[in-house]
């Protein structure tokens, strides 16, 4: 079923929307979540919570043109929060590793809340990503949006892990410089 029709089902409050969404995107959403939480049972919970949240958010949202990205954003958020909940008991190495990497993108990392509102930060991030060439942008997003392992990214793009690491290292530095240059003080 086309995304537009699925979204219409949500708007019509037809529970078939959940079924159709799960059929079309369930596998990809579970894969995304599994990459973050690394636990099948938790993935199932995250997936269910994602559908529930999507039910609450559509309407008023109408993501006909980007339904997968909309759902992926939800499950990513939920999965990260699950990781952090568990981290209270035991640190999640994967998320810690990614967080440490992204520390490099911030000129002066501190514990203060972000000083830039979401709208401005979205503009900054998107501006930066659009300044990258397609390959670098996709590698960056696979790592920090989809939270893929370096080895998985290397396999996906048919390059060596070392090239992925190099690309990410440079992209992080470029992001830091971009944010500084554009006057964003995170």
């Amino acid at each position: 079923m086309e995304d537009g029709r699925i979204v219409e089902l949500f708007w019509e409050r037809d529970e078939a929307a959940i079924k159709q969404t799960a059929e079309k995107y369930g596998g990809r959403l579970r894969a995304l979540s599994l990459g973050i939480v690394r636990d099948v049972q938790t993935v199932e919970e995250c997936e269910n919570d994602t559908y529930a949240q999507a039910w609450d958010l559509i309407p008023p949202n109408e993501p006909k043109a980007y339904l997968y990205a909309f759902l992926a954003r939800i499950i990513r958020h939920i999965s990260l929060n699950r990781c952090r909940d568990r981290a209270r008991l035991k640190r999640s190495a994967h998320v810690c590793e990614l967080s440490a990497e992204l520390d490099q993108c911030i000129a002066s990392p501190d514990d203060c809340a972000c000083r830039v509102d979401d709208l401005a930060l979205a503009e900054a991030l998107n501006g930066f990503l659009r300044s990258l060439d397609e390959e670098k942008r996709n590698i960056f997003l696979r790592r920090y949006w989809y939270l893929d392992a370096v080895a998985d990214i290397a396999a996906r793009f048919g390059v060596s892990e070392s090239k992925v690491k190099t690309t990410l290292f440079r992209s992080r530095n470029q992001l830091r410089m971009y944010l500084e240059k554009e006057g964003y003080h995170l």
Binding site: L102, D103, W145, S162
Partner: protein, 363 residues
Amino acid sequence: MRGNELLDKMELVDPALVEAAEGASVPEMQGWAKSSGADETSAYGIRRWTKWAAAAACLCLLAVGGFMAVRHGIFSTGQEPGGDIGSAQGESGDKLPDSQGNDDSEMDLPEEDRKIIVSENGVTIPPMKVSLRKDESACIIKNFFIYQGRCYMQNSATAYIRTLFDLDDVEKELLGEHLGTATGMIDAWTPKDGYVEFAGSIYGEIYTLKGYDPSFMLGLMEGHELGFYVCNNGITLKYGSDFLEDRLHLAGNYCALMYEDKGWDREYEILPLPVDVEAPAVSELVEAMDRAEFVTVEQELEEEGIGWFDVESYRLEFVKNDGVRFDVFLYENGRVWFSEFNDICIRIPQETYDAFAALVAAD
């Protein structure tokens, strides 16, 4: 704000970009090849071939550059304006000795004496005194820093490969004493008195490497990545073993050997292929390299012209048990060039080369 919050904020990224990344993979990146009807394998092959050609051209330029540099004294200094590494000063401002303990007056040798010396003792590469002001290309092609008056150079041909070690992997095994911080203060406008201890063209933390002579090789942590910096000047090498064994301790200490027979390129690194390190051809190769005598590239060029760089070659990457890697460039005529030393090479027997080529071809 910290990285974990930024990780959350990544969800603000435009969904269109996220969608595009979701489906991105090798075929999509090579759309130009797909649209021309080439299959994925051949597209990759074309890409590799193109890179190979470009990289070979770079190698030729390096060789010619090195040849011209030696011939015209670009890497020498004399008393001309601009900074020079040989006159590196300590933090106290005192002149530092060079790698042989000479003081500054002894280092200000006539230009002729800065050429590579060939003698019965081998080839002697004099202490390098690079003046970036005299020739900016010197700073473009090399990262370097100064430590105890010695110039430690990162090899330009393999810079990206060498700096891709994760600290976690090698920290306990390889990193030794912290020596200081490379300040990266030198550029083409740096005056002569700016060529001081820890200055250079790169920032980072300098460490000794366990098991390696610090007068030969040091590690530099740049962010989370470790690079190997070699003092490739102020030394005399007669046989390959002077480099491979005395300094790198290669024999019996390598766990992997990778090769690329085309397409190697420092900007677009491809996946090198493994070689069976237990194969006799590999140990024979190492033994032959150990036995071979160093000669200057200048000698070889005068003998056969630049053409010997054109013949098909392999880039080999030895991976040592401790994580140190280094490159060996193997040419069809048996010549072997180490990227640590631009201006000298060795030559192994043709049958040794052929045996190795046969091993690779059989994979």
